[in-house]
C-alpha cells in the first residue's frame, strides 16, 4: 500500500529536484559556486530570512490572542469565527497578494503604499498563516486540563510560577511547531512576494523564478534552489519537528467570559480577528467593481467576454482550466495520499514508516518553484515531453496537495476503531455491508475534508503551476498574476474580478467542508 505513494513521491519530487541540480552541474559547477558565493546571493538569503522572521513574529502576535480567546472562552458566534479564521489559509496566495495590493498598494484603500516594502509581505503572510497558529496552539490550549494549573497552585506555586512551570512548558512544543511551519511557509513563499514585491523584493524563491523565467540562467537557479533546500533541511534539523502534545481529553474546557475586562478583551480580539480576515477578502470584491472611484462592471464584463481578441488572457477559460486541473490533481492526491494514509495508519508508526511519514510532508517544506522547474526539466523535453499534455500541472499540484491529504486522513484512519466492523459482523453484516454501513459513514467526513483541502490547495497553486501552465491555457492564479502585471484600469478590475471568482470557489469549498464538521480534522 505504501509502495505507490513512495514511488510517486520519488518520481514526482526527487527526480525533478535532482534534475534541477544536474542541469546546474552540467552547465557549470563553477558558475554555481560563483552564484552561491556572491554577495548578492547572501543578501537575498538574508532578506528571505528577515521577511520570514518578521512575518512569523507578526503572525504569532495576531494569532496567539485569537487562539487563546477561541480556546478559553465561550461566546456567541464562536463556531463561526473558528471556521472563519481557517479561510485565509486556503486562499490562493495570488488572491491574497491581490487583496493586499488593493489595501496597501500604490492606489491602496488604506492610502499607504507598502507594496515594495517588507511590511507588505509581513501583512500578507500574517493573513495567510494565522490559521496555522490558531489551529496548532488552539488544539493544545483547548484540551489543556485547567486542573493541572490548579494542582500546581495547591502545591504552593504562585499564579505566575504555575504558568511558567506548567502551562508554558506544555504549550511550548505547539508554539515551536506552529512557528516553524509558518516560518517555512514564509521562507518559501512565492505568489505573495512575486505580486506584492513589485519587482523590488527578492527572496530566494522569487529569484529562482526570475533567473529561470526571465534570465534563462539555469545554473544560477539551480544554485539558489540548492541553497534554499539546504537552508530548509538545516532549519528542520536544528529546530526539530515536535508537534504539540495533547495534555488532556478532547473536552471543551471553554467558559463564559466574566466581568467587563474579560468581555471587553474577548470582544476586542474577536473584532480584530474578523477585520483582519474579512477586510482583504472584501476589498477584492470592491476593487473588482471600482474604476477611478466609480462603480462599474467592466471588469466583470471583461472576465466573461470569452474570446476577446484584444485580451491576451482569457479569464473565463482560465476558470475552466483551473477547475479541470484542480479536479484531476485532487483525485490523484486523494488516491496517492489515501494509500499513504492507509499504509501509515494500519502499520504502526515505528522505524522506516517514520521516514515515509516525513517523506510525505517533504513537498510542504520545499520550494514549489523548484518543483515546477524540475518537472519541466525532467519531463518537459525529449525523450519524455509531457509539456503539452496538461499532465504536468496535475502531477505538480497533486504533489503539493498530498501532505494535506495524508495529514487529514491518517489520523482519521488510525482513529477508526476496527472493532466496529466486528460489532457489525456479529450483528449479521457481511464484510462489504459492514464497510458500507459503518466504516464509510464514519470516515466520510475526513475524506470530504481531505478532498476539500486538496481542492483548495490545488486550485490556488501558483509557484509550480506558473512554470508548467501553457501560455495559451493558464490556470486562474496564473491568469490573475498576468492581468495584474499588465497596465490598464480595466485589466486590473478584471484581475480583481477573477480573484473574486477564485476566492468564491475556495470559500465555497471551505464552507462545504465546514458542514461536515471541520472541527474534527486538521492538525498539521
Amino acid at each position: 500500500m505504501l509502495v505507490v505513494p513512495v514511488v510517486f513521491l520519488l518520481v514526482m519530487f526527487v527526480v525533478p529536484v535532482a534534475a534541477v541540480f544536474r542541469v546546474g552541474l552540467e552547465t557549470g559547477p563553477s558558475q554555481m559556486l560563483e552564484v552561491m558565493g556572491a554577495g548578492r546571493t547572501w543578501q537575498i538569503l538574508g532578506f528571505t530570512v528577515l521577511q520570514a522572521v518578521l512575518s512569523t513574529a507578526a503572525t504569532m502576535l495576531v494569532a496567539l490572542p485569537a487562539a487563546f480567546v477561541l480556546a478559553t472562552f465561550r461566546f456567541p458566534g464562536r463556531g463561526l469565527i473558528r471556521a472563519l479564521v481557517l479561510v485565509p489559509f486556503v486562499m490562493p496566495t495570488v488572491v491574497v497578494a491581490a487583496a493586499f495590493l488593493a489595501l496597501i498598494g500604490p492606489t491602496g484603500a488604506l492610502g499607504v503604499d507598502l507594496s515594495g516594502s517588507v511590511w507588505g509581505l509581513v501583512l500578507a503572510h500574517m493573513f495567510l498563516n494565522i490559521a496555522v497558529v490558531i489551529r496548532v496552539v488552539g488544539s493544545v490550549l483547548a484540551t489543556m486540563d485547567p486542573r493541572l494549573e490548579e494542582a500546581a497552585r495547591v502545591l504552593g506555586a504562585s499564579r505566575w510560577t504555575a504558568w511558567r512551570r506548567v502551562t508554558w512548558p506544555l504549550l511550548r512544543p505547539a508554539l515551536r511547531a506552529s512557528a516553524l511551519i509558518v516560518f517555512l511557509f514564509c521562507f518559501t513563499s512565492f505568489g505573495v512576494v512575486q505580486v506584492l514585491g513589485a519587482g523590488q523584493l527578492r527572496t530566494l524563491e522569487v529569484e529562482i523564478y526570475r533567473q529561470t523565467a526571465y534570465l534563462l540562467d539555469l545554473p544560477a537557479a539551480a544554485a539558489l534552489s540548492l541553497l534554499q533546500l539546504l537552508a530548509v533541511v538545516a532549519m528542520l534539523a536544528v529546530v526539530g519537528n515536535s508537534g504539540g502534545a495533547r495534555t488532556g481529553n478532547a473536552v471543551d474546557v471553554a467558559r463564559a467570559p466574566v466581568g467587563w475586562r474579560q468581555r471587553g478583551g474577548v470582544a476586542a480580539v474577536v473584532v480584530l480577528t474578523v477585520v483582519v480576515v474579512l477586510a482583504p477578502l472584501a476589498i477584492i470584491v470592491v476593487r473588482s467593481l471600482m474604476i477611478d472611484g466609480r462603480l462599474t462592471t467592466v471588469g466583470w464584463q471583461m472576465l466573461f467576454s470569452q474570446g476577446d481578441s484584444t485580451n491576451a488572457v482569457d479569464p473565463f477559460s482560465a476558470v475552466l482550466a483551473s477547475l479541470r486541473t484542480a479536479g484531476g490533481a485532487t483525485l490523484l492526491a486523494m488516491l496517492v495520499g489515501g494509500m499513504a494514509a492507509f499504509g501509515l495508519a494500519f502499520r504502526g508508526r515505528g522505524g522506516w514508516l517514520r521516514s515515509v511519514d516525513a517523506l510525505m510532508l517533504l513537498p510542504l517544506g520545499t520550494s514549489a518553484v523548484t518543483v515546477g522547474l524540475g518537472m519541466l526539466l525532467a519531463f518537459g523535453r525529449p525523450p519524455l515531453d509531457l509539456r503539452n499534455t496538461g499532465l504536468l500541472i496535475v502531477l505538480a499540484q497533486a504533489l503539493v496537495a498530498i501532505p494535506f491529504v495524508v495529514r487529514v486522513l491518517a489520523p482519521a484512519l488510525s482513529g477508526f476503531d476496527r472493532r466496529y466492523l466486528d460489532a457489525a459482523a456479529v450483528l449479521g453484516r457481511s464484510p462489504v455491508r459492514a464497510l458500507a454501513g459503518v466504516a464509510v459513514p464514519l470516515l466520510l467526513p475526513a475524506v470530504v475534508v481531505a478532498a476539500g483541502f486538496a481542492f483548495a490547495v490545488t486550485i490556488g497553486e501558483f509557484g509550480a503551476t506558473v512554470f508548467l501552465a501553457s501560455p495559451a491555457d493558464p490556470t486562474l492564479p496564473v491568469a490573475i498574476s498576468r492581468l495584474l502585471a499588465r497596465p490598464g484600469e480595466v485589466t486590473v478590475a478584471a484581475a480583481y474580478a477573477a480573484s473574486a471568482v477564485l476566492m468564491l470557489i475556495t470559500a465555497a469549498v471551505v464552507v462545504g467542508m465546514d458542514r461536515v464538521r471541520l472541527s474534527r480534522a486538521v492538525a498539521f
Binding site: 476503531d417 472493532r419 466496529y420 466486528d422 460489532a423 457489525a424 459482523a425 456479529v426 450483528l427 449479521g428 453484516r429 457481511s430 464484510p431 459492514a434 454501513g437 459503518v438 459513514p441 464514519l442
Partner: protein, 297 residues
C-alpha cells in the same frame, strides 16, 4: 447449545490450548480468569472473529468455515461499541434484516429504555449505553450471546445493579450465554457455571458451590476468594484470630463487606482473608495469630 472441542488459537504463539466446553440451552456460563489469559480470544473464536482449530458448534451446527456474520451468534463488547453515527433505534435495529420499529421498541422496553429511540448515542450514560448494546445484541435473537467483560467499564454501584438486571433479562428470555470476566463477584452472580481459564487452558468448569468447596488447585482456590495455607484452602469464616494460632499474619487491610468485617493480611507472602467481629478487629500493620475454627462450633 454451544459446544467446543479441542479449540486452539495461536497468534504469534499459542493463546488457547485444547478448550473443551459445553453450554446447555438457556445456561449462563462465565469464564473467569486474569487479564491476558485468553478469555476474550475464546469469545472471538466463537464469534468467528479469529481463526481457530478444533470444532465449535451451535445448536448442533458446525461453525467451521462459517463467517462471523452468518453464525447466529450475538456479542456484547466491553466498551459498548455503539455506532456513533446512528441513533439508538438504528443501533438496536442494525442486526435486523428489515426495519422493524415495533421490535426495536420492544427491545428498548426490555432493557428499560422505552422511548429512547431517537437519542444520539453520545448523550447516553455508561449504563444506558450498555443497555442499548444489550438490546442491539438481543434484537436478532441469536442462538448464543457472548458477553465480553460487558460491565468492565462501569463503576461499582452501577455494575452491581446492571449485572442483576441483565441476568434477569437473559434468564427471562432463556438466552444461552457465554460471558467472560475477571471479576469473581460478577461471575458468581450471573453464572450457572463458572469456567476458570488460566494461561489459555480451562482449569476447572463447575458451579460456584463446587468451586468454593472443591477447588482443583490452589490457583482456583485463590481466584474464587479462598485463603490457601499449608496447601489447604479455607473460606473466610473458617479462620479466626486466636492467641495460639498456627499462622502469624501481618494485617494489611480491613473492610466491612456484605454484613461482615473482613481482615486481609499476609502469611509468608500468601494473601489471606478472614472474618472478624467488630470488637477484636486488629489494626493495620499489627501481627496476629490465626487458626482454623469450625464455623458451626
Amino acid at each position: 447449545m454451544l459446544s467446543m472441542t479441542a479449540v486452539e488459537v495461536s497468534y504469534d504463539e499459542p493463546v488457547l490450548h485444547g478448550i473443551d466446553l459445553e453450554v446447555g440451552p438457556g445456561e449462563i456460563v462465565c469464564i473467569l480468569g486474569p487479564s491476558g489469559g485468553g478469555k476474550s480470544t475464546l469469545l472471538r473464536a466463537v464469534a468467528g472473529l479469529v481463526d481457530h482449530t478444533g470444532s465449535i458448534a451451535v445448536a448442533g451446527r458446525s461453525l467451521a468455515g462459517v463467517p462471523a456474520h452468518r453464525r447466529g451468534v450475538g456479542m456484547m463488547f466491553q466498551d459498548d461499541l455503539l455506532f456513533p453515527h446512528l441513533d439508538v433505534a438504528s443501533n438496536v435495529g442494525f442486526g435486523l434484516n428489515r426495519q422493524d420499529p415495533q421490535r426495536v421498541a420492544q427491545m428498548l422496553e426490555l432493557v428499560g429504555l422505552a422511548g429512547y429511540e431517537h437519542r444520539a448515542v453520545d448523550t447516553l450514560s455508561g449504563g444506558q449505553a450498555q443497555r442499548v448494546a444489550l438490546a442491539r445484541a438481543l434484537a436478532p435473537e441469536p442462538d448464543v450471546l457472548l458477553l465480553d467483560e460487558p460491565f468492565g467499564a462501569l463503576d461499582v454501584v452501577l455494575k452491581a445493579q446492571l449485572v442483576r438486571e441483565v441476568q434477569q433479562v437473559l434468564r427471562d428470555r432463556g438466552v444461552t450465554v457465554l460471558a467472560v470476566t475477571h471479576d469473581r463477584h460478577e461471575a458468581f452472580t450471573m453464572a450457572d457455571r463458572v469456567a476458570v481459564l488460566r494461561a489459555g487452558e480451562l482449569v476447572q468448569v463447575a458451579t460456584a458451590d463446587e468451586l468454593w468447596n472443591k477447588p482443583v488447585d490452589a490457583y482456583v482456590a485463590r481466584l474464587v476468594g479462598l485463603s490457601v495455607l499449608d496447601g489447604v484452602a479455607y473460606p473466610p469464616e473458617e479462620l479466626r484470630i486466636t492467641a495460639q494460632g498456627r499462622w502469624a499474619l501481618q494485617v494489611t487491610g480491613r473492610t466491612f463487606l456484605d454484613g461482615r468485617y473482613l481482615v486481609s493480611g499476609v502469611v509468608d507472602g500468601e494473601s489471606v482473608t478472614f472474618g472478624s467481629d467488630a470488637r477484636s478487629l486488629p489494626a493495620v500493620g499489627q501481627t496476629v495469630h490465626i487458626d482454623r475454627v469450625d464455623p458451626a462450633g
